[in-house]
Symmetry: C2
């Protein structure tokens, strides 16, 4: 008889387990969700039945009762990026240790797509949403607000956001690296940064750098403030003329580590020694930056800390359904002093 039943169905369900263990389905359910409410020997019996039937509980059926789905959604532009990887890894690990499974979707920098993905994740009844950056469609924000879904934006901090955020303080990053260069005694300093249009990270970094320079009374000539897209090749090309000039700067601050790497290659190609002839600093501490030759002095943005903190905030938001306040956390940056910068010869 029992066998018959099993044969028609695809997999064992909670009733099969209950029958085999000689208890009611309710008890099996309790055995999963409130184990202390079922007698140890019954528990054991159920356990055996579970093993025997190969039962795996069905989260869908569970979620339908308004019970927690146990998932959190993450929407990222791309996974194809070492710097996001760190963040996602940390986010996912923290989430896991809070008992969640992570649903990931990528939109390839298409914000319409991002909105669609958000809908799709909500269909799966994720209990929380993680996003990257603060640039999102109004529809995206209002859907989140309408559903009151706990959400957190990772990557950059801003004091005034529609949803919780946690990220590096890019202004601070600029300040720290600028101060480091000044402390080494440099006065003739050039900047190689990406375009700051529609790029608040870059804009904030430049802002931080210039702020510190101004306070120290160090002028940066306009022609020493270079602009380059985010690529080794471009950075190299754009900085070569600057470096081949006879009265070149003694230090260069790059908008990020990739640009810094391009600058270093430009210098080396021209026969200059980094850092003896010229100091070069980056921002970001990408994986690999520590292993360049010379290793790159840079600002660590602690993306893993960002991911971890974001997951913790999300957990709090989900469980503390009272506390619907927006939380904003700025993650402190850290100076990584390495070989590519040094003091001026006296």
């Amino acid at each position: 008889m029992y066998y018959q039943i099993m044969k028609t169905k695809k997999y064992a369900d909670i009733i099969d387990v209950a029958n085999l263990a000689n208890v009611s389905p309710a008890t099996v359910s309790r055995c999963f969700n409130h184990p202390h409410k079922v007698r140890p020997d019954t528990r054991k019996r159920i356990q055996v039945a579970i093993e025997k039937t190969g039962y795996i509980r069905n989260r869908a059926a569970q979620a339908i009762h308004g019970r927690r789905s146990g998932t959190v959604g993450l929407i990222v532009p791309t996974l194809d990026n070492a710097i996001f990887s760190n963040l996602i890894q940390a986010f996912s690990e923290q989430l896991n240790s809070n008992g969640f499974t992570m649903l990931v979707a990528t939109h390839g920098y298409d914000l319409d797509r991002e909105y669609q993905l958000l809908r799709s994740l909500l269909e799966h009844r994720v209990e929380g949403i993680g996003l990257i950056g603060l640039d999102h469609k109004d529809e995206t924000y209002s859907l989140i607000e309408r559903r009151k879904t706990p959400s957190v934006a990772m990557w950059n901090y801003h004091p005034d956001t529609r949803i919780s955020c946690v990220g590096a303080d890019n202004t601070e990053a600029g300040k720290v690296i600028a101060q480091h260069i000044l402390n080494l005694g440099h006065k003739r300093i050039a900047l190689v940064f990406p375009d700051t249009f529609e790029n608040d990270r870059a804009a904030n970094r430049v802002e931080g750098v210039l702020d510190v320079m101004k306070k120290a009374d160090v002028q940066i000539p306009a022609e020493w403030h270079l602009n380059t897209p985010y690529s080794i090749k471009n950075a190299r090309e754009v900085s070569a003329p600057l470096l081949s000039s006879p009265n070149r700067p003694t230090a260069i601050i790059a908008g990020n580590d990739v640009i810094a790497q391009g600058v270093i290659y430009a210098a080396q190609s021209l026969g200059l020694n980094v850092p003896a002839d010229i100091s070069v600093a980056g921002i970001g501490d990408f994986s690999g930056s520590a292993h360049l030759l010379p290793s790159l002095t840079t600002i660590k943005l602690r993306s893993n800390k960002v991911g971890q903190t974001a997951a913790m905030i999300l957990d709090e938001l989900i469980n503390d359904s009272e506390n619907k306040n927006i939380q904003r956390v700025a993650i402190k940056v850290e100076l990584m002093k390495r070989q590519s910068t040094c003091g001026l010869p006296i």
Copy 2:
């Protein structure tokens, strides 16, 4: 009245939509799943009701009917790795365009954890599973087999596996890079590889290299077959003595790009020019390898192709429930000829 109902519930459900549109829930459901079966004007009315109520359908309730959950699970050791990122990105994109959402979990190289994650994903009733590599617990394999869950192992190809696999042919990779070095005229060749114990990828690569060398009658002295863990620092240390010897090799084949980078740094530190004094080749074509100075000659393993193919196989396996055959695909490797290798001076 209607308002009352809405007030007690958290969100609009299909019944709210049906009421507002003056149809039965069945029709609303059909409107989503078989739109051609409902009259265009009714459809329009329902659409309006959906907008008005802010209804988002509940996949859980849907999944409960044995209907597809629309998710595929992916279990990876870590996301914290540029080379997996490529693969995952491609996998996820292909999956998306087949209408699936990807559930990701990471186990941090702990195979017991991997088994637990598999169970957890099955609780979510994923329709397919992606794994990395071929090294898994027996429990993992048998659970997959028992549930008959469509699965595919990515990363390396093997002609004899318990589940479908798609990956690079590492033996082939070894052969191709070895042939390239021989074609350049080198005869004095050294190897710097990671330990091949419990690492079939490395073992296969070495195998491929040695095979080609043997056919070309080129001997590699035992003391020129170096061993190093997977790190720039170690590779650099271990290869320095070899390079400082007066009758050093003219070419070095490294087990992967990271090791190759270490070897290059070792050479450069000793004042050697790469490739004029010594050619260095890697395997893997990691992101960044193209931008080293000199850029690294290596073997592209096309991890994006692996990810994409894996997703396509999975889709096939899921939809073609007849075809439960195990599929195995070897992805062709590609030689990336760059600056770090050159011919011998005559």
